[in-house]
Amino acid sequence: MNKAQDTMLYLDGVSVAFDGFKALNNLSIIVRPAEMLAIIGPNGAGKTTMMDIITGKTRPDAGDVYFDGRTDLTRLDEAAIANLGIGRKFQKPTVFESQTVWDNLEMALKKPRGIFRTLFYSASGEDIARIEDILDTVRLADRRDDLAADLSHGQKQWLEIGMLLAQDPKLLLVDEPVAGMTDAETVETARLLKEIAETRSVVVVEHDMSFVRDLATRVVCLAEGSVLAEGTLDQVSANPIVIERYLGR
């Protein structure tokens, strides 16, 4: 517990295996409050499995996972973890396609999640202002009444980031946020994430090296379920093992 103090996310010795295949192997990662961490690594390195474990989708076979220095995440389910203040953006943009952009954000908005509270909820002026604010941030204000299914791929990514913002989490897990975005959008996303990271902790998984460079933050390279190298992007990409196992050449 002591070791976990003053951390936002604390993973120590986490292992998980699927039918004998070790997806994570003694993985240890620390994220401090208001810090951004970029995670890179080849396919199958365990990036998504790590997110599954943090968000309660998968239970680790061994190891400790603590949030905010004190909460043991391995005992909680997805909803409880989300309500603690951990938001997740999926690799494949997952928005509620048959509902409008506005409804998507309204559902994500940080409000009591109880059944009857939800049933009798009606948006206060404050809530509406907040949603409109987010709509502006993610540049979807003019599409607020369109179905999410009709958005372009990049817009869906933005909507999902908007939903993350609406959740008002302490820790954001962002899986490949710029896939399918134009260069301008990518730059814009990097700017947005950096802004978010001023007040919250952010973990970004990304393959796009120029985007990671734009983030200008601490980088961890995963391979075969454990940490291969850690440091700034330059340090990591200069690491000979990383070059051999991930970057190539």
Binding site: G87, F96, S98, Q99, M107, A108, T118, F120
Partner: protein
Amino acid sequence: MITQALLRALDKKAIWLVAILLALAVAVPAANLLIPAGQPGHVPTYIVTLFGKYLTYAMLALALDLVWGYCGILSLGHGAFFALGGYAMGMYLMRQIGTRGVYAHPTLPDFMVFLNWRELPWYWQGFDQFWFACLMIVLVPGLLAFVFGFFAFRSRVTGVYLSIITQAMTFALLLAFFRNDMGFGGNNGLTDFKDILGQPVQAATTRGALFAASAIALALSVLVCSMIVNSKLGKVMVAVRDAESRTRFLGYRVEYVKLFAFTVSAIMAGIAGALYVPQVGIINPGEFEPANSIEVVIWTAVGGRGTIVGPIIGAVLVNMGKSYFTGALPELWLFALGALFIFVTLFLPKGIVGLLGQWRDMTARREQAPAAPPPPAQAAVAAERGEDPATLGDVQPKPAE
């Protein structure tokens, strides 16, 4: 807060629907009782009863739609809740027979005397009181749905697994109610009812009143459903339907959302069953047949799931067809029903209401922008991919999530 929710329930479509149902509740019995037979406008009593029955079916279909159309839970056991409500009402009606039964026993129903029962089993106590029966009509299906749903949803049984388990549930109840020693009349069920609230069940006035009650109950169900689906909870339900795990990562307790919808739906189904029994005059274990529950699904699908009016239209239309076929061409009914299942799933995934909506969209578009190329509407995109947006959540074959 609650008044806001109620106001939200009364959107335009719901107001129309409720108004029509209330008008029917007055007009049909009036046309039966006030206009003498033979004169134009007279509605024969059998028609009143028949359509009263259809209305209870419509309520059952609406209840199923709440869980299937909005929440993505395909229950193949909703007939069980319907039948349980029916049995609760049937037990009340049996107690009202009193000494008029064949054996003229003051408290025991005929079948119990016949089976040499000495006294009324504990679970029959209190059913001589109408209020108690009403309580049970709500409580028994609701409680069963709550307990069943609690276990099923908590362990994340979804998709076809859940469908099969609900089917097994109604099958188990079917077997149980067939047993004589369960004390529900076994194979024959409960029948030969005499009075309801002191009025003879067979009388035209009672029939009219039951029709009106069915119409009003359906109108109330429409209001309740409308309120739920128009609330934020309704949006969350649709979110659960489309992307269950995503909803969970937003912090919603998906199992409780489902449990709420399932329980409310079961209570509606139970009330529908309770209104059904006095109109048809019998309740027997056959109502628990898994085939019955699946038929309800097709009513909902025909009308259009995920809409309020769809299941009502579907239930009435399919049952009118059934009444016609079983009378005129009994051999062909199962062919027709089977073909309906296939046709609707293949060609009408959104049912009649969806079809009407599409047709309206198309004509509107033509009027608005005859020259402009049609925007890539969601429906068209979905049709190209051979899927409908309602099921985008399970594009991949996945036995269980």
